[in-house]
């Protein structure tokens, strides 16, 4: 019955509007960005000339920002993982009736505007704030030392803002573990740490892979944290793309930077998935197909 031509067309009618929207407003814009990155000239008089030097020029001009971006994003991702894994573990296995409340607390930051959240960190890490005062009391910070406008502040902001993206997938994969497997390991005389290392950790790996990607990608593209918590010395590649597009209107350089940004992240993601297993990102699709 499902072989009549009309029935076979149904999925395409259902998908049509969405696929057209995604192609027109996601794929096609990438083409235009690539095209814009090969323009030359000055503002008001840009022309398409296959100007490949935009890439080499912007790379040598902004190599510091590129390097810094990937260092900050990597450190923030590792920190988020260190905070998120035990938290997700506690919610999944020790949460009890508090499970829902704890999950709500984890996503609560999403209910406040992103910018306000970051500006709140400006207050918390401020020069006369509690954190700086405490660090000074214990001589962990010089008398005239500050946290704002340092890499520490930017990384702290990145870690905080993308933490829920790390917690949720790890929680979801831990939650799905059949606890009888862990009990079986213990019945077979595995110690608690052995059972964790050999059973729980491998089974939660897809969540860790998804979480690290979901944290690293937005952290690498971010410019809000560096804008509010850093200074020019902490500018990331996103800050440069934003100001080149919106303030200086040097569109070709901006487009070249954004394009390289996308390609580098794509390469990192592909390599990472190769090593970590492709289940994580496309797992759902792989199962169904």
């Amino acid at each position: 019955m499902s072989t009549t031509p009309r029935r076979r067309l149904i999925p395409y009618f259902l998908l049509g509007p969405g696929l057209i929207w995604l192609v027109l407003f996601f794929i096609v814009p990438l083409y235009y960005m690539g095209r814009l990155s090969l323009f030359s000239g000055t503002l008001g008089d840009y022309t398409f000339t296959w100007e490949w030097s935009n890439y080499t020029d912007s790379l040598s001009r902004f190599d510091d920002q590129f390097l810094r971006t990937f260092i900050y994003a990597s450190v923030a991702t590792v920190l988020a993982l260190l905070i998120a894994y035990p938290l997700a573990y506690a919610i999944a296995f020790r949460g009890g009736r508090w499970k829902n409340a704890l999950l709500l607390a984890v996503v609560a930051p999403f209910f406040t505007t992103y910018l306000i959240r970051t500006i709140a960190w400006q207050t918390i890490l401020g020069d006369n704030g509690f954190v700086v005062d405490t660090l000074k009391t214990f001589a962990l910070l010089d008398e005239d030392g500050r946290l704002l406008a340092t890499p520490t502040a930017v990384i702290a902001g990145l870690t905080y803002n993308f933490l829920p993206f790390m917690v949720l997938p790890i929680y979801a994969s831990l939650e799905r573990i059949d606890t009888s497997l862990i009990e079986a390991a213990k019945d077979l005389y595995a110690s608690a740490s052995q059972a964790f290392r050999r059973v729980t950790l491998p089974l939660s790996a897809p969540g860790v892979v998804a979480g690290t990607l979901l944290t690293f990608i937005p952290a690498a593209g971010d410019y809000v944290n560096a804008f509010y918590l850093g200074s020019a010395q902490q500018a990331m590649i996103g800050n440069r793309i934003q100001s080149l597009y919106l303030t200086e209107r040097d569109y070709p350089t901006a487009a070249a930077l954004a394009f390289m940004m996308m390609v580098v992240i794509l390469i990192i993601v592909v390599i990472y998935i190769r090593f970590a297993g492709s289940e994580a990102l496309m797992g759902d699709e792989a199962e169904e197909a």
Binding site: R8, L14, L15, G18, L19, W21, V23, F26, V28, P29, Y32, L36, I83, A84, P86, L87, A90, R94, K99, N100, L102, L103, L104, V107, A108, F111, T112, T113, Y114, L115, I116, R117, T123, I124, G126, N128, G129, Y160, V167, L168, P169, A172, E175, P206, A210, L213, I217, G221, D222, Y223, G238, Y245, L246, M261, I265, L281, G283, E285, E288, A289
Partner: protein
Amino acid sequence: MAAHVWKWLREHAIVIYAGIAVAYTLIPLLVIAVFSFNDPAGKFNFTWEGFTLEHWENAFSIPELNDSLLNSLQLAALSTILATAIGTLMAIALVRHQFFGRRTSNFLIVIPMATPEVVIGSALLSMFLLYFGASFLGLGSLLIAHVMFSISFVVVVVRSRLIGFDRSLEEAARDLGATPFQTFRLVTLPLLMPGIAGAALLAFALSIDDFVISNFNAGDFVTFPLFIFGASQRGIPVEVYSVATILFAVTVVGMVFTVWQQRRAERMAAVLPDDDEEALPTVTAIGTARS
């Protein structure tokens, strides 16, 4: 005694750690709420000066702030309706039908979620500039952008709902003589409704909170996050903190209500076999569907 304390600490270490982590996620939210009662001396609301209710009484007295809120609500409402409709249809096609091009479609849905916002924003701006010119930027360009980045999330949420769907209810409807369309309208859609509502809520939240992509494509159209961005360079009015606290409270209430509704619907229809499995479906869906 010391050994006793040590044992207790060892057993509860992870719970204590989790407690600290939760406190860490909530502290900035607390700071925002507390500083909405601040009475700052200068333009910048960064240090505590004294308690006042003034900025709660006048929460909606800044015209630019109100306009930006209305703009955001208008944009989010339009974007939510479009993205939810489009995304729901896609989810149904992906779960219920086998067809050529399925993997490509799945890939096209996942890839925008794995692209940094700054790239999406740059690409759209490039197209708008080259194809339409800067005068095109405004509500229209933002609507295009917001629907685009919301679709993927709607598909993910509705799809996770469809996968746990008891199809025997539909078969029963067909056996009782319902047409396919009647079955869809009277059985499938009502059972799917909590998932669609969750997806809509997520789309709304994504739209109303979006800064990066809007920053690139807004032109003169000022949304709430763009207003904050502009104001932050001159000193943010304390009223913004009050409004943010109000928005936070409204969202939490909406969220709790939706979850409650979802669980009620689940109990009534027994769509899912076990009750706690899909706690907070909307919020975990982002993680669940991709892990």
